[in-house]
Amino acid sequence: MPEAIPSTEAYLMLSGTLFAVGLIGVIIRRNMITVLMAIELMMNAVNINLVAFSHRFASLEGQVFTIFVITVAAGEAAVGLAIIIQLYRLKSSINVDEASELNG
């Protein structure tokens, strides 16, 4: 008998929870760094999904795409943090609501 491990559904529920928490973070926080962290959290939730399905269908695609997602997350963090630093230099604040010049 193969060793039983937590089912795909359990992983999907966990991933859904993390995604929802990340989404709430993105919407309700005003500190830009925390917002960026919440986005990373959402990306990681997606990774959990991919790995779970990769195991479910016994195919490596999920794991390969997880690596691509991690790559994108790394690039996004680098550019995002650069923008935050520049915003801080401009306004001495990293509040998301402050950056609203294009609001019209």
Partner: protein, 222 residues
Amino acid sequence: MNAAFLVFFVVGTIAVASSILVVAMRNPVHSALFLLLTFLCVAILFVVKDAEFVAAVQVLVYAGGIMVLFLFVVMLINVRHLPDDRTLSRFWKGGVGVGLAIFLLLATVVRTGTYHDQNPNKKLLRSTASHRVRKVTNPDGSVTRKRVVRHRTVGNSEAVGMALYQDYLVPFEVASLFLLVAMIGAIVIGKRELSAPEEETSPDFILKRMETEKDVKEAMSA
């Protein structure tokens, strides 16, 4: 209950709890530390699902790179001295509502039994496939070419590596290009341009001295 379930419940609970703390913490440094904890927990969950390579990459990239970068920026800005009278956005109630709605939506999509694990062939996660064309003599005497797929059992890292470099070569190269663009973008955006007075007062004697040093070096090597 076996070990895998125990690990899942303990680590999963920690992951969810610390992810909530990421969003709830006032101080970004604390948020970053809890995010780090979440990433480590997720890496452990990857190992449970037979993805050691991805787990190692997760720890290496997130813990070793991204979170250090976050902490670096937090300290560079030194958020301690920023006024944080209002942490939450104006429409935080709506935000929580949207989040809960998304969670409910996802929860209803996930139905028990829909993704029933039909004993997945775990060997496929640790094997590379190579195609070979073999000549086959049919019963009627004609010779046709037949494609044969051979699975060779290797480690998970080698299997992922083969998949990356064989089946996903173009996306892989695009990803490398993406990283290059992201790097250039980050440098261009983050660079601080010298203000006009700074530019003007860039001391002449340093430039002069550099010239002299260069001359002397040339004289030395000649």
